[in-house]
């Protein structure tokens, strides 16, 4: 009996390792392009406005624009940003807004905000426009200037490396009175 357990152990381990060796050679279907100034932030009164709009046919310095939808087959892209608020001790602490309204696109809230751009009805522009209403205080918003297609498993994931208008080094500090 011990002998058969011994053989069975060898067989099971071998089958497990066969699966591992078959997956060593990985392929990531990713196309990265650069297009500046696709994210914009501005603070006015007690409202922080964040927008991100870009054409489906994205000009990225090549002879022809890149068709984002044909490449990614995705109607949604996203980028992440986070907010911090200065506490009474003068230190920055993570801040999750509770009054956030998207007039275009959508938001996913966690420890950071995922701003989701959605392709419009004419299939021409990916759009995102969000207002965040804030209580008085000092705030800081930090943008990750990387826009990525969502749900491109069956096609090519597109990554747009961009810059942020209205923020220095992708960070905007402002005060709400």
């Amino acid at each position: 009996m011990k002998k058969y357990i011994h053989y069975l152990t060898i067989a099971i381990i071998s089958i497990l390792f066969t699966g591992c060796t078959e997956n060593d050679d990985e392929f990531f279907a990713t196309e990265s392009v650069t297009a500046t100034n696709k994210i914009e932030v501005s603070a006015s009164g007690n409202v922080l406005n964040v927008t991100c709009n870009f054409d489906r046919l994205l000009n990225h310095g090549s002879d022809f624009p890149l068709d984002l939808f044909l490449t990614s087959t995705s109607r949604k892209f996203f980028f992440n940003y986070s907010m911090q608020k200065r506490n009474t001790s003068g230190n920055w602490e993570n801040y999750i807004p509770d009054n956030i309204t998207a007039s275009e696109g959508d938001n996913l809230l966690g420890s950071y905000i995922s701003g989701i751009q959605e392709l419009d009805a004419l299939d021409t522009t990916y759009e995102y426009d969000t207002d965040i209403t804030l209580n008085p205080g000092q705030y800081r918003v930090v943008i990750e200037p990387r826009i990525v297609s969502i749900g491109s498993q069956d096609a090519v994931t597109v990554i747009i490396n961009t810059t942020t208008v209205g923020a220095v080094n992708n960070t905007l500090e402002f005060t709400v009175n």
Binding site: S14, F17, N23, D25, F27, P65, D154
Partner: protein, 197 residues
């Protein structure tokens, strides 16, 4: 591939354990096993794990050396269908593996061996291709064919029972030499059940 190294270590310990515990009365230099010079085997590991059919023939030249050839072909249809969507870059569709083996132990009924092999292999690989529809570029995933030849080494363990039937476990690795689009390495991993005659 680091896992193969781990497996090699594990396998060596298992082999040593088996070697010290399974001597039988037939384990002598006069065993009738030595008079049988041919062996055919089916690779049950690749059949179950990868849906590949693998058949081997081995010819024993003397007590120390043998030569053989293995052929593996076919993939699971599910793997072929999902190839463009999964995260693997290459898919091996056939392998022809001529090899030479040297028996490390002189036992007739259980032994481990060293193997040098070449691996003639081919299949498909994926790459990104940029197309243009007259208005804009777009990028798609395409697949192409490749063929290559690898050289490598393996170790293995054989256990005979009833003087004719054999379990043969082989673990090794080879490096493809000529085609940059082929997998850089090919594993030599098989659990064969066979018959010696």
């Amino acid at each position: 591939m680091k896992r193969i190294s781990c497996l090699l270590g594990l396998f060596l310990s298992i082999s040593t354990f088996a070697q010290s515990n399974e001597s039988t009365v037939t384990d002598t230099i006069t065993s009738p096993i030595f008079s049988k010079k041919n062996e055919i085997k089916v690779d049950v590991l690749n059949l179950i794990g990868n849906g590949r059919l693998g058949i081997s023939y081995e010819r024993f030249l003397n007590k120390d050396f043998s030569v053989g050839i293995s052929g593996l072909t076919f993939n699971k249809s599910s793997k072929k269908d999902g190839f463009l969507k999964d995260d693997t870059r290459t898919m091996i569709e056939y392998q022809v593996i001529p090899y030479v083996r040297y028996a490390m132990s002189k036992s007739a009924t259980n032994l481990y061996y060293l193997e040098a092999f070449s691996n003639i292999n081919g299949g498909q690989y994926k790459e990104l291709k940029t197309l243009n529809n007259g208005v804009a570029d777009y990028v798609i995933v395409t697949k192409k064919e490749y063929n290559d030849i690898a050289l490598g080494a393996a170790i293995g363990y054989k256990l005979y029972f009833k003087e004719s039937f054999v379990i043969d476990l082989t673990v090794g690795i080879g490096k493809n030499l000529f085609n940059s689009d082929s997998p850089s390495t090919v594993s030599r991993l098989g659990l064969n059940l066979g018959y010696r005659f």
